[in-house]
Amino acid sequence: MTSNDFPDRLPPMLVKELRQGMRTISFLGVFMALQIILCLILLSATLGSTTGDSIGNVISITIFTILSIAVLILQPLRGINAISSEVKSNTLEIMSLTRLSATRIVYGKWVAIVSQTALLMSTIIPYLILRYFFGGMNLFGELSLVLIIFATSAALTAATVGISATSSVILRNILPILFAIMAVIALFQFLSFSIAGPGMSLFYVFDSGEYLIPIISYLAAITYIGWSCLKAGSLIIAPSADNLSTSHRLIVIGLSVVALGLSTLDQFNVEMIPIMFAVIMGPAIAIALSESSIVIAPVREALQKKRYVGRLGSSFLLPGWQSGIVFTIVISAIALAAIFIRPSPLYLLDRELNATLMIIVSALFPAVICNLPRNTETNRFDKYLLYSLATTILGIVILALAAASGDNIKWVFIWNPVVLMSEMDKSSEAGIIVAWIGIYLFILFLLAIRNAKQHRLITEQVNTTPEV
């Protein structure tokens, strides 16, 4: 391979990743294994010499099962060390001194793996064409499923690439385990649904207009979550001179306003409001409240020089977890507004209101633990995720213990959002959740004030130190 193998118009990161990626055993191994297995399946089906719907179904299901393992598990897992390996070998900093921004580095890594996934997927098309001769094929349905698998793979890859920017080895090791568990569950669900269940009617799902909106919603949700993960990765590796937070927060606020607009439509299912805002707010709050506390003067001045609007905006658009608190309040207010502006009486929306409040309290709690240490100069997105995971596990354990021994133990752990959520199912009292949200916000504000005081002390100390 020479330096002329890729045209200039391709992004440098993509060129680099493709050069490296195409030579790795993980890609070549998956590629070769997929081809061999698919060849064997078609060969054995041909030798069986039976045609008809049933054999066609079995071939389709087998092809999709094998393809799913390759592109929904193995390919996304290739992203798990994508950025951490660069950090470890000290090459990320060298790259950041070129014209490559943090965003371009992260997207380059992601695009490279996704393009290899696309290459893998394109190789199954001949097998699908051959499979046509066995009968019972739903062309549109099967192609739709291919596209959905590809989109899901791209989103999962975005998640692994984004998380690979974190320094947490634990998180990067937990993720493959979670992937494997989810994959096994999904595989069993898929097989039981497609073989023991409605069989090939699975593919007709995509033909019917009834499922169009859920599918579009699903694609929109995974696109947003994938984008958020890539944004989180970019924020972790970006130098403090690069302000990626303001644009991120503006986009999230814009999306929240669009979601608010959708919520006012009569046709919009009210039960979907908390789910929609959980998808929008969850990643956004996690990213905002785990950002580094460092805001260098040029970044702050750039935003604040726009007079009153700039000053007002900087209270929630400036990088750093401190302004992230105000940002959280802003998007939470939009989410709650979506419930309150519904034409139905509020007592009919209890469940939705409680669910939305629970999303807010669940997002705030890990942020409080995250920002307890005095030094919050580094990005703590990995810690936020770990604390969220630990909180959930602890909550489940407490609930299990409470179920075994009586209810008393729950009240000791009521600060845990999972435990709190279990109580709200019964009482439906939003006031308690609002009180916890208030407590967590108050603690976060206190921590932000402590942080500011600490910085002032350091600056004063520096200014009073005699020059050497």
Binding site: M1, T2, S3, N4, D8, P12, M13, V15, K16, R19, Q20, R23, T24, K88, S89, N90, T91, E93, I94, M95, S96, L97, T98, R99, L100, P239, S240, A241, S293, I294, V295, I296, A297, P298, R300, L318, G320, Q322, S323, R374, N375, E377, N451, A452, Q454, H455, I458, T459, V462, N463, T465, E467, V468
Partner: protein, 333 residues
């Protein structure tokens, strides 16, 4: 205008004061060595200059451009070579350089020419098709230097480039640095091997506990004039060495430090070489039969230890005059 200008620079990591009020300037086209123990603040200062970190307080400028306010412009002016960097798996030397040339914005013919120039300069020609992670340490450093030179930077910041190199690779690296210095590039280099820095550098900056404790040229340090308050000489005489010590006792400006087999080690408290010549003339006139008289060249390690010792005793360190103060805070809101 200086190539590098650091003024009252502080960098705190929580309570840790990594850089604690550093001020210095490096003129254009000079080679400046940056010396200090591990954790003294060398790498932090260099990283701030390379726009990879930000100061808590203070300013750092490269060719008059503030690193905090205009990092992108500064990056175009500097070549950064960290103390340790890994190479990529499954990527050849030419692909490695080609990637960075692309990342720096070079296209087509210009990109290929830049890569070729760098390969020629670093003599990596025979290794272009070899995987970059399979190179020896010496060749890896050459590749790193080549990568840092791709955009023809005015200033080269090198953090411990000779660490871990064998003697041959070290000599080769030193040669490349000399060539670059001749081309007029400003080189700011840190190393633990002080003798090598002494040979290469026009000036040396000593840093200790985040503070600059010395800024001067290597020759004066080796000769001891700046650290001992006089000139050190090794004198050999024909006959009884006692004659030399007896003579020294009678001289107000000469101090006999220790006796040696054929003479002794003396300090001449003189302000100029002329006064030293006068002292020698007096010695000969007074019948001290001098057979050898040469200036003692101390190694830089001794000079560095000596400076640290003086600081521990509370004596002032040699520092350049402070720059006019104008600080910018990198503040946490």
């Amino acid at each position: 205008m200086s190539a590098l200008r650091v003024n009252n620079l502080y960098r705190y990591f929580g309570q840790l004061k990594a850089v604690n009020g550093v001020t210095f300037e490096v003129p254009h086209g000079s080679v400046c060595g940056f010396v200090g123990a591990n954790g003294a603040g060398k790498t932090t200062t260099m990283r701030i200059l390379a726009t990879l970190d930000h100061p808590t307080v203070g300013t750092a400028e490269v060719c008059g451009i503030n690193v905090l306010h205009h990092p992108a412009e500064v990056r175009r002016l500097i070549g950064w070579m960290p103390d340790h960097f890994g190479n990529y798996d499954h990527m050849t030397v030419i692909e490695y350089l080609d990637f960075y040339a692309r990342a720096l914005g070079y296209k087509g013919k210009e990109r290929r020419e830049r890569v070729q120039e760098v390969i020629d300069f670093t003599d990596l020609g025979p290794l272009t098709e070899r995987f970059s992670n399979k190179l020896s340490k010496g060749n890896t450093q050459r590749l790193g230097l080549g990568r840092a030179l791709l955009h023809d930077p005015q200033v080269l910041i090198m953090d411990e480039p000779a660490a871990g190199l064998d003697p041959k690779a070290r000599v080769e690296l030193k040669h490349l640095i000399r060539v670059l210095a001749k081309e007029g590039k400003t080189i700011f280099i840190s190393s633990h091997i002080l003798s090598e820095l002494g040979e290469m550098c026009d000036s040396l900056l000593f840093i200790n506990n985040g503070r600059i404790v010395h800024h001067g040229d290597a020759e004066s340090l080796k000769n001891g004039s700046e650290t001992q308050g006089g000139f050190l000489y090794d004198v050999q005489v024909d006959g009884d060495p006692q004659a030399l010590s007896d003579w020294c006792v009678l001289q107000p400006t000469v101090e006999f430090l220790e006796s040696r087999k054929f003479g002794g080690r003396i300090r001449i408290n003189a302000e100029s070489p002329t006064q030293v010549a006068d002292t020698l003339a007096r010695m000969i006139k007074d019948q001290v039969r001098v057979t050898e008289f040469h200036r003692e060249q101390r190694n830089l390690e001794d000079a560095f230890i000596d400076i640290l010792g003086r600081l521990e005793q509370g004596q002032p360190a040699v520092t350049p005059p402070p720059l006019p103060s104008s600080t910018t805070n990198a503040s946490i809101s």
